[in-house]
């Protein structure tokens, strides 16, 4: 991804996911971090994104619908006795 020397905040927020995945090129990563040094808004944004990801990690998915699980169990029982 080719970027201008100066990253504006509006571009920085689009790069956050790639940054956290260590997927930015060294040059882009440098521009990104350089921006964070002086921009409180974007530093906060990055912190908020980290918090969001951590919180999402604590979500417990709703269990499978019981009807579906019962059908899967039936298939399992059928398979193991076959």
């Amino acid at each position: 991804m080719r970027l201008d020397r100066e990253l504006a905040c509006q571009e920085v927020v689009e790069l956050v996911t790639a940054y956290l995945d260590h997927a930015l090129s060294p040059a882009d990563r440098e521009r990104f971090e350089e921006h964070l040094v002086f921009c409180d808004g974007c530093s906060t944004y990055l912190d908020q994104m980290r918090e969001t990801i951590a919180a999402t990690g604590r979500v417990q998915l709703e269990a499978l619908p019981p009807g579906l699980e019962a059908r899967l169990l039936e298939a399992f029982r059928g398979w193991r006795t076959a």
């Binding site: 509006q10 689009e14 944004y45 908020q48 999402t56 998915l61 499978l64 579906l68 699980e69 399992f76």
Partner: protein
């Protein structure tokens, strides 16, 4: 790194399933069942069809479990079977699913109104910067609701990456997505969830 892919837990589950152990079945469904449904839902038009897909995929899992060698993680393998089953089913409903349809609308991570315009001294910089933390103990249902509202593909990727903890590569392998496409979906999903939290904290 290759040899470590099948964790002890995965190994126990696989051996349990092969032995016909119902406790292993229950554990597998607890750990991965809901995400399997989400993966299916990414490719088909309704929840009901997604359930059928999971059922079909499960038959495939049982047929393949004897041969499963652990070259990928158990999760990746499971989700890939579901994705492939769903895609086949989905293709009977529509010819194919272009990425643009999967990914949802092209939206900015943050409302453009939050930034200064082109004629300002600092164009593109924050006009209304984010402040403070987005975290609250009761925020989990805000997150869940935000995820529920996502387009299916975004919902699936954030589920697999951030809830189930798959790596970027595992998700790419399971869903047969390019690295870029996987990241775009994740990016849009996370941006919406963060916005929902920010809104809630205000």
């Amino acid at each position: 790194m290759e040899e470590q892919l099948l964790s002890r837990e995965d190994t126990r589950l696989v051996e349990g399933l092969r032995a016909g152990d119902e406790a292993a079945f229950k554990e597998l469904m607890r750990l991965y069942g809901p995400a399997m449904l989400r993966v299916a839902r990414m490719y088909v038009s309704s929840r009901a069809v997604a359930e059928d897909v999971v059922q079909d995929a499960w038959v495939g899992v049982l047929r393949g479990i004897g041969r499963f060698e652990g070259r990928s993680s158990l999760k990746t393998w499971l989700f890939r079977i579901v994705a492939n089953t769903a895609k086949t089913r989905g293709m009977r409903e529509a010819r194919s699913i272009p990425f643009s349809a999967l990914a949802g609308e092209d939206e900015a991570a943050v409302d453009p109104d939050r930034f200064l315009g082109a004629d300002e001294r600092f164009p593109g910089h924050w006009a209304v910067p984010p402040e403070g933390r987005v975290l609250a103990a009761e925020a989990l249902d805000v997150i869940e609701r935000a995820i529920e509202r996502l387009p299916p593909a975004q919902r699936t990727v954030i589920t697999l990456r951030d809830i189930q903890g798959l790596s970027a590569e595992e998700v790419r392998n399971a869903l047969d997505l390019t690295e870029t496409n996987q990241r775009v979906l994740l990016h849009r999903a996370r941006s919406k969830v963060r916005s929902a939290l920010e809104e809630y904290m205000r």
